[in-house]
Amino acid sequence: MSDLINLTIDGKPVQAAPGTLVINAARQAGIEIPSFCYYDGFTLQAACRMCLVEVEKTPKLQVGCTLPVAEGMVVRTDTPQVHEARKGMVEFLLTNHPLDCPVCDKGGECELQDMTFRYGMGESRFLEQKLHVDEQQWSPVVFYDRPRCILCYRCVRVCDEGMGVKALGVNNRGAVSVIVPNHFDHLQCDECGMCIDICPVGALTSGAYRYKTRPWEMKHVGTICTHCADGCKTTLGVRNNQIIRGNNRDHSGINGEFLCMKGRYAFDFVHSPERLQSPLLRRNGVLEPVSWAEALAAVAGKFKQIQARGGKFAVIGSNHTTNEEDFYLQSFAREVLGTNNIDHRRTGDVATLLHALSGQTDALATTADLYERKAILVIASDLAQQHPFLSYQIRANYRHHGAHIYTLTPGPVREQNYAVRSIITVPGRELADLEALREPLKGEPELVILFGDSIKGEAVGKLVQFGSSLAIPVRYVCLVDYSNSRGASDMGLAPNHGPGYQPVSEPGLAYDEILAAADLDALWVVGANPLKHGTLASAGAFVLVNDMFLTETAQRADVVFPAASAYEKNGTVTNVCGEVQHLKGGLQVMGAKPDLEIIGLIAREMGANVGIWSSDKVFEEIHSGVRGYNIPLPVIATGGAAQTTPVHVRVPVSARPELIQSARDTLFTSGSLGRYSKALNSVLEAPGELYSEKRP
């Protein structure tokens, strides 16, 4: 390309796009210019002065992180003057930095350690007393140790610019400057921990992780967060079969380094003392721990008995189980139990959207689209609460590309702060109020529409018609609640369609009908808690539950199998945008088994064959057999995300859209799972509320 700018860095000819900063141009050329305060994607600070470089024809050292490249520029990063400057800066930084590295959480992955090692002096000339300020706890998950702070303002920026929360600021001046939380001595915020993650030193530490381990003692397992539907990659730090922290410092996955409270801290339900670790069998009205063999025999015996007399089965699946488990479960239900009475708690009308988009290409948005497309319309969702990562993407899009954001929500949402147009509506009136946006939207070059659970059934078709009438490229996201809500639908945990939305000849009972039916002989609930709010009409039904905890539903069960959490198994999940990603088990909890294995063991016990219960084998079947899932395998295998393709067929849409209900989880709730997370329950903000005026 001819519009590239030519410059020389350390004698290497470098080409860079106009506007590229010298620090990044050098990085492209494989030359490191050290920095603390410079951080990709956030405003420039030029505060740490680590990136000083020599530029020919300029007498003073120049700041590499704010200096754009210029034609013919000659930059030197490897001169005595530059080394001297870096040495001086590290020395200044260490004057008040307590050298408590042996007990600091950051030890081993601390940028100041690395910089000192590479550019520092090796000896201290500082004889004076260091400043001391006592450590402060700002929230159950955020601690601040001022003496370690090097005031790079990354935390302030990530909270303000990245999260849109603005919970951190700076007080005082000079050497006694200090980062402060928004409520004098404590934080009220998203508790996302981004400030801790981005801190180059151990000044901000995590309540969950502090003083627990050294980073090199952990096994780092990249998997997908099991809470909301956004599908963020979280890298679990596991030591001795215990998850000690979650972060995504390596920026892998669709979310880069982003994680919310749930992804970063709410893995702790895994180690809840209430976890089931043995199968339970009801004897004399009491659930008693029994061996797997005994429990499996009891279930297989009961199932075969009911089968033999032509009894009525029903199955309720989960929003959290893997695609493989969902596929396997519905195969079991349809092939072994011979029933279409299978459903899950539906949280968004994916089926109708796929139906309405049949024949259209490029109509399903990815999470990357939210960062790249020029205009975004959010309908009926408090994204910052319900889909924190999508909200983060949109904020970044606004910040970096000036995207036009429109909101149409039943109450105030964070996106309003930077929306070009915001309309407050009442549920049910969305489509009517949408007309007010028709003209401005027509003027946009392209659009992504995200819609929540109040757009369902016919309304989805009307929304797509509205989108088409704008005569611009429109992509859609049907917002669903949990980590594999989308997969549950795609895998056919539905009474009226099988995997890939293949219609079934005789639709079975839907979720509420299953609970209301008086003549069920057996109900199998896998990873769901329908009896939390509902009641089971069939008082005499045999109830089998796979769950991690003794939920309301498990308490009613005749047999309970202890299930493994998403962090303990392999498989794939499909996020809200239809992106398929790989789960990687990081640990094992004694006594629990993945649902896939439990289903397989029951099948074997019954003498039935639904295939090998290895997630890889089942995924092969999904890949070759389920419409939309013919996705590039290497992408998944290497930890990437591949979006499912549209199905382009007549999708059997639900006749009962009223069944589609979001659980309206906030940042601090996560269905039944959230109840068992200490971290989620510990924060001041829990459980929070949607569309709240009070929140940022």
Partner: protein, 436 residues
């Protein structure tokens, strides 16, 4: 009021009304050529006004000495955004105390200067950012502004010229850093006073993202005389490229401390002995801070020098903001360096590492050194740390702390040596410190 007797050697341009009865009143101002320049400027094009200022060779009186006319010409007059004139009255440099006198004794001269600047850059709003410690001056300035409004010298259609202009005062909150022009802008916008990245320069992107002309009080006070009597007449008062007069704030070990208006280029020794009446008690001169605490000191034998920007720059010092501090032979230079560093460590905004950590470290080290606990290796270290700050900080505050310190260590090593080996300060007996 005046704090010192005027000197016969003074050339009074901006201080010509000082000492007149009711010098701060509009009536006095009008009776002594007040607003004549404004009416003249009303008949001139902005280009003509700026040209006149260029001809005057007026250079910024805040310390950096940037040519004022050139600065004015940088403001994009055709920008669709509103333009602002902001007066930097955050006079905080130790040793400098001239702007307060100008506002106290002749506030309308400043208002007229602002109006002419506004006319030259097509601004219609002006802010006077007054140092927080000058509380009484804010009220004083407000009274003068109210008087100007009442008599039609501010507001809509000023004196029928069709020119609208509003002036407001804005209080600082006690931060030296806010005298740095971009930190001042942040402060005036209600933010924490920390400097901004340059470019863009305030002339293009200043207050509220709009083109902004920022000038020191003394600079703007010189404008009425320049427009009224012509730039050439003003330029002729000084040396080439250093037009006009300068208010020199003479303090320290001198018989007649005070603020004197002298032509730019006035000889420093004459300033000390003829204007200031020499040093008290027949003490010998040891050193001079030529223009405020951030300027490298001149040793006694370097003081036969013309006080203009270029000559002092050649002597590796600065004319700065006109705060000339005279130090006699009994001055402990270690303590003096400590006193300066205490100030900068206290005033560092903390934004960038070298200034924040460097000033604090040097303050601690000089404190220890002066108390007799110094090591021989500290002497070069003081210089090295200062050089690690010099030119590497975000704004000139770090340089301001480093430059005098480097000069003191280089020029007075014997004072440092004398404190070694647990020796008490050799000047401990001396009274009358030039600093506190």
């Amino acid at each position: 009021m005046l704090y010192n007797e005027p000197s016969p050697l003074e050339v009074k341009v901006v201080t010509k009304r000082f000492g007149l009865p009711n010098s701060a009143s509009l009536d006095t101002y009008l009776a002594t050529d007040g607003f004549k320049a404004f009416f003249k400027a009303a008949g001139m094009t902005p280009e003509q006004i700026i040209e006149e200022v260029k001809v005057s060779a007026l250079r910024g009186r805040g310390g950096a000495g940037f040519p004022t006319g050139l600065k004015w010409s940088f403001v994009p007059r055709t920008s669709p955004k509103p333009k602002y004139v902001i007066v930097n009255a955050d006079e905080s440099e130790p040793g400098t105390c001239k702007d307060r006198l100008l506002m106290e004794n002749d506030p309308h001269q400043l208002i007229e200067g602002i109006l002419i600047a506004g006319r030259a850059v097509d601004a219609h709003k002006g802010y006077i950012y007054i140092r927080g410690e000058y509380r009484y001056l804010i009220e004083h300035m407000d009274r003068a502004i109210a008087e100007a409004y009442a008599r039609g010298y501010l507001g809509k259609n000023i004196q029928g010229t069709g020119f609208d202009f509003d002036v407001y005062t804005h209080s600082g909150a006690g931060a030296y850093e806010c005298g740095e022009e971009t930190a001042l802008l942040d402060s005036i916008e209600g933010k924490r006073g920390i400097p901004r990245m340059k470019p863009p320069f305030p002339a293009v992107v200043g207050a509220w993202q709009s083109p902004t002309l920022l000038n020191n009080v003394e600079t703007l006070c010189a404008i009425p005389a320049i427009i009224r009597d012509g730039g050439a007449a003003f330029a002729a008062l000084g040396t080439p490229k250093n037009g006009g007069t300068r208010m020199i704030c003479l303090s320290g070990h001198v018989n007649k401390p005070g603020v004197y208006e002298l032509p730019v280029g006035f000889n420093l020794l004459r300033m000390i002995y003829e204007v200031g009446g020499g040093l008290p008690n027949g003490k010998k001169l040891k050193a001079v801070v030529p223009g405020g605490s951030s300027c490298p000191l001149l040793k006694a034998d370097e003081c036969d020098i013309a006080m203009d920007f270029d000559t002092l720059a050649k002597a590796k010092s600065m004319l700065g903001s006109g705060g000339t501090v005279i130090l006699n032979e009994d001055t402990c230079m270690v303590k003096f360096a400590l006193r300066i560093m205490k100030f900068y460590a206290h005033e560092s905004c903390g934004w960038c590492i070298p200034c924040r950590e460097g000033t604090a470290w040097l303050k601690k080290m000089l404190d220890r050194f002066h108390s007799g606990l110094g090591q021989k290796s500290d002497i070069p270290l003081i210089g090295e740390l200062s050089k690690n700050m010099l030119g590497r900080t975000f704004c000139p505050l770090g340089d301001a702390a480093a430059m005098p310190t480097i000069a003191i260590v280089e020029k007075f090593p014997e004072d440092f040596e004398a404190h070694l080996n647990g020796n008490p300060c050799p000047y401990a007996h001396a009274n009358e410190p030039a600093y506190a």
